[in-house]
């Protein structure tokens, strides 16, 4: 069974597939700490991602954009609200089925790969966790898919460049053939030339494997390149959701979005 057909059977068996929404988040609040120390990181955020969409979350550091991803993947337990993935409501615990559909790529490829595990170990561990057969072929296919090729299979992270590591991290995320990828600043630790390669790879993969992206970034140009819908966050709240065309024409109704757009257009000497 190829990776693609496997993903299809998974989504067809899913009762919520008719709704056409990959992710629905309604009234999500996330907090850290108790009592006086309580910090509300996300305050009643709501948004919907249709299947195959690409959605971006932008905002300054501390605005809660990564926290939404972490709550969705179950890395943060203290949340309230409704989260639906492929039509299924998420509970407190995430099962293996969930991680077969949703995978995450983290910001820093230097920190997200185990320094003493080879690329082969990283990928085959994920595959065996998800009970795949023919691991050998799959590892090679994954490496080819992300543009690395089988010759990188037995390398360790320190023998790879930053861009190559991020490719391995993407390959690991693709291993269970998910339908949704959560991208947490996937290119912010990379040089612009390498960033272009990774962004192109993400564009291609989305087309080939019909993936849904939920991407977090502070770089408006990167989000504008990859996403069709963009949510702007400030202090834990989504202040505006706008299509990318509006953002390109600097048409935004909220003053904070306007401020971010101006800041990202570059430094202006006064």
């Amino acid at each position: 069974m190829s990776a693609n057909s496997n993903r299809h059977t998974a989504s067809n068996a899913d009762p919520g597939s008719q709704s056409g929404n990959a992710i629905e988040i309604a009234d999500l609040s996330v907090w850290f700490g108790h009592g006086a120390d309580r910090v509300d990181a996300v305050k009643s955020a709501s948004f919907v991602l249709p299947r195959g969409a690409s959605f971006g979350l932008v905002g300054e550091s501390g605005s809660g954009k990564s926290t939404i991803l972490r709550a969705l993947t179950g890395l943060v337990k203290s949340w309230q609200g409704t989260m639906l993935v492929n039509g299924e409501t998420l509970g407190r615990k995430r099962g293996k089925d969930f991680y077969r559909q949703v995978q995450m790529v983290f910001q820093d490829p230097y920190a997200s790969l185990h320094p003493r595990h080879s690329v082969d170990q990283v990928l085959s561990e994920t595959l065996s966790l998800h009970k795949f057969g023919d691991i050998n072929d799959r590892v090679e296919k994954l490496l080819t898919d992300v543009g690395l090729g089988p010759q990188y299979r037995f390398r360790y992270p320190h023998q790879l460049s930053g861009g190559q590591r991020q490719r391995v991290a993407i390959a690991r995320a693709l291993a269970p053939s998910p339908s949704i990828l959560l991208l947490d600043e996937p290119t912010s630790a990379l040089d612009v030339s390498v960033q272009a390669e990774i962004l192109n790879l993400l564009t291609d993969l989305r087309e080939e494997q019909n993936l849904t992206y939920l991407m977090v970034s502070h770089n408006l140009a990167v989000v504008g390149h990859l996403c069709e819908q963009i949510a702007v966050m400030q202090n834990g709240e989504i202040v505006e959701i706008l299509p990318v065309e509006d953002m390109r024409q600097l048409k935004s109704s909220h003053h904070y979005t306007q401020h971010l757009l101006e800041a990202s257009m570059g430094y202006k000497s006064t």
Binding site: E60, G162, T203, H218, H225, G266, Y267, K268
Partner: protein
């Protein structure tokens, strides 16, 4: 007027598999202007900044025909004389304030320490100067910040404190190594504005090291583009988009832009000749520095 003149600067690191040339023959001169150095990671831009201050540690080796600060060759100074140059005449702002400030010392103490190192004034006078400097970098409640610890500060605040600390001895040259890379875009413009204003008011020379081409082209007067330890191109910052060298063009094209969307980004195709080939330079931008009216 030339403040700093660097000719044929090389930084080498001996390794088990031979000598690694991190910087290979960089030459430039700096006047009272804002000079940008851009390049990817590993292009040698940070090492160039550090080599000027002779901050390359053993086993790294720095060689150059000369690194002259107002005619004085820094390479011939003793370590003791060099210490008088660092901070007082050339100072440096590093990338991340989290790693540059002492975590167990109050912010104010650190600025006062920097001040007392370079000037023979009383502690009280130094404190007043430090608070004045904190106000100069747009920190509103400077008294509170003076008594705070670095972990109580945000990234942007920390970086402004670093700038305050570095500018307090009134150096002639400020080397800023990715000073805003760890900051959010909106804070970034604020910090740059402050740095720009101070550098301009005091008539300093600024070496601005960054990987962000857009930022450098908007912020600096002149840009050096580095690749593989060499300067491949020098150009006027506002003419960066007319750059001739294929590497510079490749870098510019590989950036996603909000105003001009493309389906696929152009990927940089590296050419072996960039390592040793000709250096493209704009005739009026290369060579001697152009003075900036203050």
């Amino acid at each position: 007027m030339t403040l700093l003149d660097v000719e044929n600067l090389c930084v080498k690191f001996p390794t088990r598999s031979g000598v690694f040339d991190a910087v290979r023959g960089v030459s430039f001169s700096l006047g009272r202007e804002r000079l940008g150095i851009v390049g990817e990671s590993g292009s040698g831009k940070s090492l160039t900044g550090r080599a000027i201050l002779r901050l390359i540690r053993h086993p790294g080796v720095v060689t150059a025909n000369h690194i002259s600060l107002e005619g004085e060759n820094l390479l011939q100074l003793s370590e003791r004389q060099m210490r008088k140059v660092r901070g007082q005449r050339i100072s440096m702002v590093m990338q991340d304030p989290k790693f540059s400030l002492n975590p167990v010392m109050r912010v104010g103490e650190q600025i006062v320490e920097a001040c007392l190192q370079h000037e023979k004034i009383s502690r009280n006078a130094a404190k007043l100067k430090a608070i004045e400097m904190l106000e100069a970098v747009s920190i509103r409640d400077s008294e509170r910040v003076f008594n705070a610890y670095p972990h109580e500060m945000s990234g942007g605040m920390g970086q402004r404190i670093m700038i305050a600390m570095m500018l307090i001895p009134n150096p002639q040259i400020l080397i800023a190594d990715e000073p805003t890379s760890a900051l959010d875009v909106s804070v970034q413009t604020q910090v740059l504005g402050i740095m720009d204003k101070l550098v301009r008011e005091r008539g300093m020379g600024l070496i601005f090291i960054s990987h962000d081409l857009n930022l450098v082209s908007a912020f600096c007067d002149r840009v050096l583009i580095m690749y593989g330890g060499r300067v491949v191109e020098t150009c006027q910052a506002d003419k960066l988009y007319e750059a001739k060298h294929p590497y510079t063009q490749g870098l510019l094209n590989s950036m996603p832009r909000l105003d001009t969307p493309v389906k696929r980004l152009q990927v940089l195709k590296r050419d072996a000749s960039w390592m040793d080939g000709d250096i493209a330079s704009d005739s009026d931008a290369s060579g001697k520095a152009i003075g900036r009216s203050v």
